[in-house]
């Protein structure tokens, strides 16, 4: 074999994501493209090739028969490894040695597999290689559906499979000698009907003189994007190693553009930063149809969920990727409902819940719309790019108008809930078969009912109004008070007066029909982070949340274990979510509980290490075991990153006036920390902290004003400045 095998086989059967901006492959390390993964309490098969956010195939398996021996790849694996976005495995079947490489394609949505076959000596061996895949051809919008009917067609260079608007193309470097459809021999041509499996056999001769190579690819997504005349596969056989090397080069270039963060006093957090940053990058997606964004998670949230994008963009901005943030924002805002769209559950001004090429877009959440005014402001503050954000202002205005229609006149509070039933009513007359999930509410915890005024939704509403006032208002010199600011102040006053829960030193979770909902959830901590509680109340709320009914050694539950509705298995009524742990860390650091805040961040870091860089969505409430959990979720990496920058480092910025604030909240025993290459508008800043002072260096075109804990300094271009540390 030309490629050395790894010294040891590290295969564990763990989930592996190989991805590019257009493609993904989900597999475990057992040797084939297949992945059994617990989901919704059952072991389901998620392996396959994904392109343009559609699941193109289920498992794609390969077997070999030759020289008196036969085996599938799983049964013959001797070693395997994952390097970046390339999976390699080594197999032995009788005298035949096989080196397999699998990688996603970079420019075309799909995957390529390469098999290099060799024998050490003896006579040449005829080998029959069989490829078999299960077509799926549906976006992962609906987690439980595999279409029933497909069209299969043989063409001169490919097998084409179609399901309505979606299609895939299977090609091979060695023409098939035999085709099989649904386990039966097939002469080719055209077929329409149920398809369980599409298989092909490829005859190759393996001799000691030179290795024999077989390349297979599956590409697809929207059928209209499949190019009938494309012969690039035959002209330049895709090579997984080449694709992966280019992917690695792009990855390295992106990493080099992001800040380098060092915590010598907390190497676990430094390592976690690297894990989380890499995890976030792995969710980047440019699926086509002019869409840009970040996938919410893998395996079953592999589409653009606009709420999830909203939680990821603050971290994207801190990492300095303004272009990704701008294009993601534009993608979401493009699908803002510009009229009532009852069919899709959309109200005027509402932003979509999900996006996928097609375009497919669905509405119907209480909160997604509310994130985007503040995100627009964040974008301007990081990038200083007022012109780009200017194009979003009408959408921001419509988003605020959408919220105002849901606002209680007396309190200013925003009403959440009822979206799903509105959509069901709108579509009732249209469908022959009705489906439903009795979820009357759609906050971030969308499987539980938190009507009518969930506290975190009020925080979002407050932040939206404040951001809109800054973006759309006449500025501080205006003679008339901004009505949005006035409403924001009413919301703040209502949160302070209506949600205080003195018996628990906490905040109520919601208010329904005027009655407080007395449930302890981490969502209340968002009000602390936003400064919506009295200064003396903040620390006691944070400490209350840290008690063991809500906080576990592996993170923060979605509901107190003392609550009658608690279940350790319930998605939003007891499971531990990493995003909730990040909220708790954020609130703790915001009110000066530094040790607690850092301890919570370390709990997240420990999960990244335990999961070797993956970041599970959620865990059982009674033990640190993923349950019903995507193995990589944006919620589980991006908020952690944002807390590191905003709370632990205490960074704030406004590139419009070339200003940076630095108020670190490091534990007293820390001796140093640094951050290099943080983007502020057109320049980059580096900050070195010790207990003796803060050194700032700046590379921007004009001077940078920096405010520290107790003093300020103006740093000239390519200059340095120093601040007091306390």
């Amino acid at each position: 074999m030309t490629t050395p095998t790894p010294e040891r086989d590290a295969s564990t059967g763990r989930p592996r994501l190989l991805r590019s901006l257009r493609s993904a492959i989900l597999l475990d390390e057992r040797g084939d493209v297949e992945l059994q993964r617990e989901a919704r309490g059952a072991s389901l098969e998620w392996g396959g090739v994904y392109g343009q956010l559609a699941r193109l195939t289920g498992p794609w398996r390969i077997s070999l028969d030759g020289g008196g021996a036969s085996s599938d790849l799983t049964g013959s694996r001797t070693a395997s490894r994952v390097t970046g976005d390339r999976y390699e495995s080594w197999h032995r079947i009788g005298r035949i040695e096989v080196h397999q490489e699998v990688a996603p394609l970079l420019e075309t949505p799909g995957a390529v597999r390469s098999l290099r076959l060799s024998v050490a000596d003896g006579d040449p061996i005829p080998v029959e290689v069989t490829s078999a895949f299960e077509p799926f051809l549906l976006p992962v919008l609906v987690e439980g559906i595999r279409p029933l009917t497909f069209r299969v067609e043989t063409r001169p260079r490919e097998i084409r499979v179609r399901q309505r608007a979606f299609g895939l193309s299977f090609r091979s470097s060695v023409a098939p000698s035999h085709l099989l459809l649904n386990l039966g021999s097939w002469l080719g041509g055209r077929y329409r009907g149920p398809v369980r499996e599409v298989a092909s056999t490829h005859d190759v001769l393996v001799s000691p003189d030179a290795e024999t190579r077989l390349v297979l690819s599956i590409v697809g997504g929207l059928e209209r994007d499949l190019d009938d005349s494309d012969d690039s596969f035959e002209r330049t056989l895709p090579d997984p190693a080449v694709e992966a090397a280019e992917s690695e080069r792009r990855e390295a270039a992106w990493l080099a553009s992001t800040p380098v963060v060092r915590f010598p006093s907390a190497p676990d957090l430094e390592r976690a930063y690297a894990y989380a940053r890499a995890g976030l990058r792995r969710l980047y997606a440019d699926p086509g149809d002019d869409l840009t964004g970040l996938v919410a998670g893998y395996p079953w949230y592999s589409s653009l969920w606009c709420r999830d994008i909203a939680w990821m963009l603050p971290a994207v901005l801190w990492l300095g990727d303004f272009d990704r943030a701008a294009r993601s924002m534009a993608s979401v805002l493009r699908f803002q409902a510009r009229a009532e769209l009852g069919l899709l559950g959309g109200e005027l001004g509402e932003l979509p819940m999900q996006l996928s090429p097609g375009p497919i877009f669905l509405y119907g959440t209480s909160d997604t719309t509310l994130y985007y005014p503040e995100l627009a402001l964040r974008f301007v503050r990081h990038s200083g790019d007022v012109a780009t954000a200017g194009a979003w202002l009408p959408a921001i205005e419509r988003a605020i108008a959408w919220g105002e229609l849901r606002t209680d006149e007396e309190t200013g509070l925003l009403r959440n809930g009822g979206e799903a039933s509105e959509m069901a009513t709108a579509t009732e007359a249209l469908a022959r078969i009705q489906y439903g999930i009795d979820a009357p509410d759609t906050t971030i915890w969308d499987s539980t009912d938190r009507r009518d005024h969930a506290i975190d939704v009020q925080v979002l509403w407050y932040q939206s109004l404040q951001a809109a006032a800054e973006l759309l208002g006449d500025g501080p010199g205006s003679p008339a008070p901004d009505p949005r600011l006035a409403l924001a102040n009413r919301v703040a006053a209502s949160v302070r007066s209506l949600y205080a829960w003195p018996q628990e030193s906490y905040l109520y979770d919601s208010i329904r029909a005027g009655v407080p909902v007395a449930r302890i959830r981490p969502n209340a901590l968002r009000a602390v982070s936003a400064g919506l509680v009295d200064p003396e109340a903040g620390p006691s709320i944070v400490r209350r949340a840290a008690r063991d009914d809500l906080t576990t050694p592996w993170g923060v539950r979605t509901l107190s274990s003392r609550d009658p509705g608690y279940s350790p298995l319930a998605y939003h009524d007891g499971q531990v979510w990493t995003i909730a742990t990040a909220w708790a860390a954020d609130a703790a650091l915001a009110v000066g509980e530094r040790s607690l805040g850092v301890d919570l961040l370390r709990r997240i870091a420990a999960r990244y290490v335990a999961e070797d860089g993956e970041a599970n969505e959620c865990y059982r409430g009674d033990r640190p075991e993923p349950f019903n959990s995507c193995f990589l979720l944006g919620f589980s990496v991006a908020p952690f990153l944002a807390v590191l920058f905003e709370r632990l480092w205490g960074l704030s910025l406004d590139a419009r006036r070339c200003w940076l604030g630095v108020r670190p909240r490091f534990p007293s025993e820390w001796s140093s920390a640094s951050i290099d290459g943080l983007r502020v508008g057109p320049g980059r800043v580096s900050v070195d902290w010790t207990p003796n002072g803060i050194d700032v260096s700046w590379s921007g075109p004009g001077p940078l004003d920096v405010t520290g804990p107790s003093d300020s300094v103006r740093v000239a271009p390519d200059g340095r400045g120093r601040l007091a540390a306390t």
Binding site: L341, I433, A439, L569, N628
Partner: protein, 160 residues
Amino acid sequence: MPNRGLGAWLSLVHQAVSLEVRYGRHALGALADIAETVEESVYEAGSLARTERGLAFALANPPLRAGAFTAVRLALNGIPVPSDSLGLRPGAGRPWTLASSVSLASPFEFHPGRRTEIRVEPMPGAIAGTVRVRLELVSKAIPPLVWLEFHDALREVPGP
């Protein structure tokens, strides 16, 4: 057509047109494709049939949510079927599971693309003609009830 129906129809047409205008010429087709795929991929149309002792039908996919379910309920024409009369199995030839034995400790699983047969025996009362069938499922992992409802004519072809 009553005025109210005409208003709803016009509203739908307006929404459809505005989708095409605002979001591109493929938007309506793509959305309709998804809706139709979901609609035709769960209940196997025409599978509702009388058996020797009751009735049976089949699902080709889970209704909206896959995974393990800790409770399964069925109603025929609005009348609940006793849980010990309701059986499920993951494909022909597999053993039947009674809904009465489905629990947190012993959930019933629905997998994408896996056919599930559902039978009611004995038949709860006189049922003939078009039947309204409502299936309710309680997920092990995500609490809100998942349901499926359809109308279909009961085929009068006794099973073997």
